[in-house]
């Protein structure tokens, strides 16, 4: 049946290639791996507009953080604020060792993972920013830390991994 359900007409038929459309679309340049995006908007304008702003949420509980990040993202969509990216930072693991010394030394381990989600926003007008901040602040779940700051190069670079071999080679060249 799978062989018989092909709708493409054979090459000798006049209707060959009837459904083709990809050649009509505009050409997409192949994506380059190095994304050196540096967008800095006007900070002092007629209406005060903030540039890129990062809203960072950290918590131990993964589900809470993810749901909160989704909520913030949808809120911004709803309020027609442009969201550039929403990404996650690598998780940090902490090992907690309890040393109970009552006769026998027990070591109860607890492994805590800290998760971080970032939502990046542009185009906030300063009349609207405090309202948004207040809404996010009051709808914070328990155990989630909120941090709102402007996007800097350092923030951008913290996502990238350093390549020690490249650096060695560059040092050798110089």
């Amino acid at each position: 049946d799978a062989l018989l359900s092909c709708h493409r007409h054979y090459r000798s038929r006049p209707t060959h290639g009837i459904g083709r459309f990809k050649y009509l679309l505009p050409k997409e340049t192949p994506k380059r791996k190095k994304d050196k995006v540096q967008m800095k908007e006007i900070n002092v304008g007629t209406e005060y507009e903030y540039g890129d702003i990062n809203i960072q949420m950290t918590s131990y509980d993964l589900c809470l953080v993810e749901h909160f990040a989704q909520y913030v993202h949808r809120l911004c969509n709803r309020l027609s604020i442009r969201v550039n990216e929403s990404y996650a930072m690598p998780t940090k693991t902490n090992e907690v060792l309890f040393l109970e010394e009552r006769g026998s030394k027990m070591q109860l381990d607890a492994v805590l993972t800290t998760h971080q989600r970032v939502v990046q926003i542009t185009g906030l007008s300063s009349t609207f920013a405090p309202i948004l901040l207040e809404v996010i602040q009051s709808s914070q779940p328990e155990g989630v830390h909120l941090l709102v700051k402007e996007h800097t190069e350092a923030d951008f670079k913290s996502r990238l991994k350093s390549r020690p071999e490249l650096e060695e080679l560059l040092a050798q060249m110089n």
Partner: protein, 205 residues
């Protein structure tokens, strides 16, 4: 409670494997080689230990003493919703319940006037954060005819919002009456017109 389609964690996999081993041991009496040192602490035991710890932990109750006594002067009430500060102020010849208000001096930004009002009523160093320079609401009113002069027909009151960071108001002793109220209770204290404008910008989540 599995709402997301997430995979099993290490602990859960370990638990499942050990359950299978136990089952196999019960059915047929082999598996004495595999016991060795792995199953000294079984995953199930760990879970039981954790559950016991959880039972021993008591979360603080959400309804505090202040709620039961309905003491509107303390900040411990209604931990769920936002509380607003209301002060009794004398305007003209009337004593009214208002949000703290101070006259604007020319040459000062509106935000610094608001911060001055806060400092006047709550003490000098309050850890309250005003977000942004834009006011949240405005209330216009005309003076009664007795006080009206040619220039001063009425007044405009701009409202700003600030978040208290710490609930440590021990140093601040307000001279007049002050209350911490939620949005619904505001209705008992404020006048209608004033209340209508104020209600527009107060969020209660």
């Amino acid at each position: 409670i599995e709402l997301e389609k997430s995979c099993y964690s290490d602990h859960e996999i370990r638990k499942l494997e050990e359950e299978e081993q136990l089952r196999r041991r019960k059915e047929s009496m082999y598996d004495d080689d595999e016991v060795r040192g792995k199953t000294v602490i079984m995953a199930q035991d760990l879970e039981d230990k954790w559950e016991q710890k959880l039972l021993r932990f008591e979360a603080a109750s959400r309804i505090t003493d202040a709620d039961k006594s309905n003491d509107r002067k303390s900040l411990n009430r209604k931990l769920d919703s936002n509380l607003m500060l209301l002060v009794k102020q004398k305007i003209g010849n009337q004593e009214l319940w208002l949000l703290p208000q101070v006259e604007w001096q020319p040459g000062e930004t509106l935000r610094s006037t608001a911060e001055r009002a806060m400092a006047a009523f709550l003490g000098d160093h309050i850890q309250a954060k005003t977000l942004g320079n834009a006011p949240y609401g405005i209330y216009k009113y005309k003076f009664p005819r007795a006080i009206r002069t040619e220039d001063n027909v009425g007044a405009k009151v701009f409202f700003f919002k600030a978040f208290l960071q710490s609930s440590d108001l021990s140093q601040a002793e307000l001279k007049e009456d002050h209350l911490w109220v939620t949005k619904d209770e505001l209705r008992d204290y404020l006048k209608l017109e004033y209340l209508k404008k104020v209600n527009r910008f107060l969020l209660d989540l």
